[in-house]
Symmetry: C2
Subunit: 207 residues, 2 copies
């Protein structure tokens, strides 16, 4: 499952961002070589002229190859690295389902769970200072995941895929945003299962 022709890139990322960990975990799992460069979002390092010249959207993660090609967007980098590997289902419909979960993650999950975690855990806002809709939307997202995972181990296809990597990034630290994963037992089991598959430490122990 090697894809070494994609290797040798620089991955610009903020280590506290789940979005940035997605391509990092993917490259590590597939044995694709890269160089990690820390970029501190809160300090404004994605808004410098140098960084904006590489990514006009001013976002991390960003992958940059030695020939100057750049690729932003966590899920797009992950998909590029995963192409031809077991992390992207070979069946066309299972692959479409994996992509569907990636888009849902960025639209309906990250925008509630990651945003509330950032405000609560990093900006140290009190619950009353945080838009109450984020808690509702985040719990709705966890409910959708619980339903999907009831009776199945992985989000798409029959094995770990890019969908699980994308979704676990912020789900495993959802408690830092004030979400109680224990209310979603299938999600809790899947979090531990996915962390084990990725070889990353358990952010929470559920037993």
């Amino acid at each position: 499952m090697s894809a070494s022709h994609y290797g040798g890139f620089t991955l610009y990322g903020d280590p506290v961002s789940g979005n940035c960990l997605k391509p990092r975990w993917t490259a590590d799992l597939l044995g694709i070589p890269y160089t990690w460069v820390d970029v501190d979002v809160v300090k404004g390092e994605t808004r410098t002229p140098q960084f904006l010249a590489m990514n006009p959207a001013g976002q991390v993660p960003l992958a940059r190859w030695p020939d100057g090609r750049t690729l932003p967007q966590s899920n797009a980098i992950m998909l590029y690295l995963a192409e031809g590997s077991s992390l992207l289902p070979s069946d066309a419909f299972a692959r479409a389902e994996a992509l569907s979960w990636l888009f849902w993650e960025q639209y309906s999950h990250e925008t509630a769970i990651a945003v509330r975690r950032f405000q609560k855990h990093y900006l140290k806002k009190s619950d009353t200072e945080i838009d109450p809709a984020l808690l509702v939307r985040g719990n709705n997202a966890l409910g959708v995941m619980e339903q999907r995972l009831t009776g199945r181990d992985w989000f798409a296809g029959g094995a770990l895929s890019v969908a699980d990597i994308a979704l676990v990034a912020y789900t495993r630290v959802a408690h830092e945003g004030g979400f109680d994963i224990r209310l979603y037992p299938a999600v809790a089991r899947w979090v531990s299962r996915t962390e084990d598959a990725l070889g990353v430490p358990h952010a929470q122990e559920f037993v």
Copy 2:
């Protein structure tokens, strides 16, 4: 560029939603047969028990095949239909760039431009009732697009792709959200070019 094995599905969508038009335009362009079923989001038709049984996330568009398989998320349906066609670049890096624009569209473009259009044009809110950040974020998104399109006709690869279809859906009606596309001349030319390629009417004339 036919992909008729994907055909024969039902596409549940709200005709005022650009997200729902994306897979519709894609299927039309590729000559893939489908049946369109109107779902009115504002009337709560995505929240009925019947609809939630098909898509627990309660979102349109949703594609459903006669064997019961369902696929939500506009960009995922579009990618599934486009597989093997010229709408998905065959070069791996150009394909990754197309995907990157799809994720950016859902995260940074739709959430500002489509949301402000919905509030202004459909909910008839006055400008003072609308979060001012939406105008700033929407114009930032248009600026990123202008930069990308300066010196190139299409977002990824050398021809119309899924990235253009996804991005044009709400860009062509951005004026309904209070955005002035004339301030972004490369974007304005690309909107007309993409509408022509899709065979859809010009939502605005720029000359």
